[in-house]
Symmetry: C2
Amino acid sequence: MTLTIGQVARQCGVGVETIRFYEREGLITQPSRPEFGFRKYPPDAVRWVRFIQRAKALGFSLREIKDLLSLRVDSATTCDAVKGRAEAKIADIEKKIVHLQEMKRALVKLTVACRGKRPTSECPILEALGDED
Amino acid sequence: MTLTIGQVARQCGVGVETIRFYEREGLITQPSRPEFGFRKYPPDAVRWVRFIQRAKALGFSLREIKDLLSLRVDSATTCDAVKGRAEAKIADIEKKIVHLQEMKRALVKLTVACRGKRPTSECPILEALGDED
DNA sequence: CTTGACACCGTAGTGCGGTACGGGGTGCAT
DNA sequence: ATGCACCCCGTACCGCACTACGGTGTCAAG
């Protein structure tokens, strides 16, 4: 069974125009289309679009998401390059996780301070800032 | 010792205009300023701006970052509300961490598949997509 | 007391990531 | 064969987060 663009869009909670936009930008592959008729999407298209939405919410740009997605496309040919890029992305992600954990720790500390009814004038949010780059 | 806007900007790797912009948007508090002279920043200003940069890279909008920062400002007055908002943010952050871990797992799997010289035609990146939301 | 680097302000322009619109075409249902 | 919902395309527009610009003011060093 194939899906129309509208069905994919509804299942992803985005607009039809967004999917056409992603197609123009090369984030999702052109769906099969019988000579200027409607686009026909495989059910997996929904997962691709959801991946894009999720990655965006995690601070990746569409350019980066495109890179991420392209890792699978040409993997057979230039395996070493793919591996390198994947490892770089893993490092990025690990850094993001560390920073999020720092922010979380700071916020937890804030709620604890709150419970204790102290006015938290010495701001705990500032402690979410390790000084290494 | 106080800093000029240019010194803060250089230490944060942003432009002077960016800091003025953050000030206009209420993300950083107005620095003390002797009656229409230059802005005088405390050294902590550098940390605030770096916090904003970092939070942006983690997928928070300036609106959200403003909320995050405001948690410290009026904490003495509406402690319960602050606690609630902080807890909501913690939940957001935990969700982000989970999604990042899923992406990382998928990428690690990709590099492993790569090592094994298999063409990874069954895309492991797609597995970064849990279907709950 | 001049000079040059930097700061001040407001407004306009940029790039990203969509979002809306208008004028059509398609396709199935009645 | 006539609706009607949905799709096609291109182009214009939008909000966010800056970034650049241009004309003026400040100030510390020489």
